[in-house]
Amino acid sequence: MFAGAPVHAASQGTLGATSTGSVTINASVPNRIQLTGLTDVNFTNQDPSVAAANSQNVCVWSNTSTKGYYVTATGSGAASAFTLANGAATVPYAVEWAGSSGQASGTALTTATALHGLTSAATNPTCAAGPTSSASLIVRISAVNLQAMQAATTYTGTLTLVVAPE
């Protein structure tokens, strides 16, 4: 019997017109979390005079008793910085996170620094049932940074998000 299981031994039946026995069934489910519903972010032909923003709804499911989780983001720049690159040329971007879907702004994330205290409304690991999304990811490039980018040049980068239950 594993830790935390109730103490109850199986009972055996006696010989008779009917006979009854019973068993206790124990199982332990560990903390689990899942992040799905992510899509690539594309800023195309951005007007350098206007800040660019992209928000998307994602699904975060946590099976803890509070449905709590934290999220940590890292970029593909130097020291995991949130930067896009074209060769040696780089441009920074900003990342925000909201613990509910449909948001155009959220809490700013710092690379490799966890944002705690989030709660998921998802009831299914992939939001296949219940709410179809449970959080918002927002990516921004300021006008200043857009103006530093070379025209007709593609900058790319990878943003990695790690969620963990709490």
Binding site: M1, G13, G21, V23, I25, N26, S28, P30, S65
Partner: protein, 190 residues
């Protein structure tokens, strides 16, 4: 002769209704009925047993089922055990009814306010990892035991399998926690 008639009549009655009657009733008006006498004599002519069938059953060798900490929630988790099911009937036949501790006897484990459904299967032979699905409070009939001793201390050491399944679909969406529940098995002769 009177004692022999009484035994044969009791056996006859068990086959007709499955209920016992007091011997005084048989030695009274019923046994005097011509049809009863005719049927009783027919049983005697066919070599009917001199004593009534006992129709007794027993379930033993049950053990708790511990799934432990389930690391892989994407796969079905199965626990099975062999146990002793003894049926002292003409055919060694029996039926089994399972009841869980969920609402209405549902097969459900609980962890505080959280619940997790499980499935129960039964096989009338030992060492099985799958069997006939049981529904809560619904007897599974037509089972036959190979046990020759009420606690399987002689003959086969076990005669049936109890299988409990936690489906991946249930596990993957279950809240974290330690779940527990009691499964009660009621056996009846047939």
């Amino acid at each position: 002769m009177v004692a022999t008639n009484s035994g044969a009549s009791t056996a006859l009655h068990n086959q007709l209704s499955g209920q016992a009657l007091a011997p005084s009733r048989w030695s009274g008006g019923l046994v005097r009925h011509p049809m009863v006498r005719l049927l009783a004599l027919s049983f005697l002519a066919l070599g009917a047993p001199a004593t009534a069938a006992s129709n007794k059953v027993r379930i033993t060798s049950l053990s708790d089922l511990n799934f432990g900490a389930l690391a892989n929630l994407a796969a079905d988790a199965v626990q099975s055990e062999s146990l002793c099911l003894f049926a002292d009937t003409n055919t060694n036949g029996y039926n089994i009814t399972a009841t869980g501790t969920g609402p209405g006897g549902a097969f459900q484990l609980s962890s505080g306010a959280s619940a997790m459904a499980y499935e129960v299967q039964w096989s009338s032979s030992a060492g099985q990892n799958s069997g006939s699905a049981l529904a809560p409070n619904v007897p599974l009939s037509g089972q036959v035991s190979t046990a020759t001793q009420q606690a399987c201390s002689n003959g086969p050491a076990s005669s049936a399998s109890l299988i409990v399944v936690l489906r991946a679909a249930t596990l993957s969406s279950a809240s974290a926690g330690t779940y527990s529940g009691v499964l009660t098995l009621l056996v009846g002769p047939e």
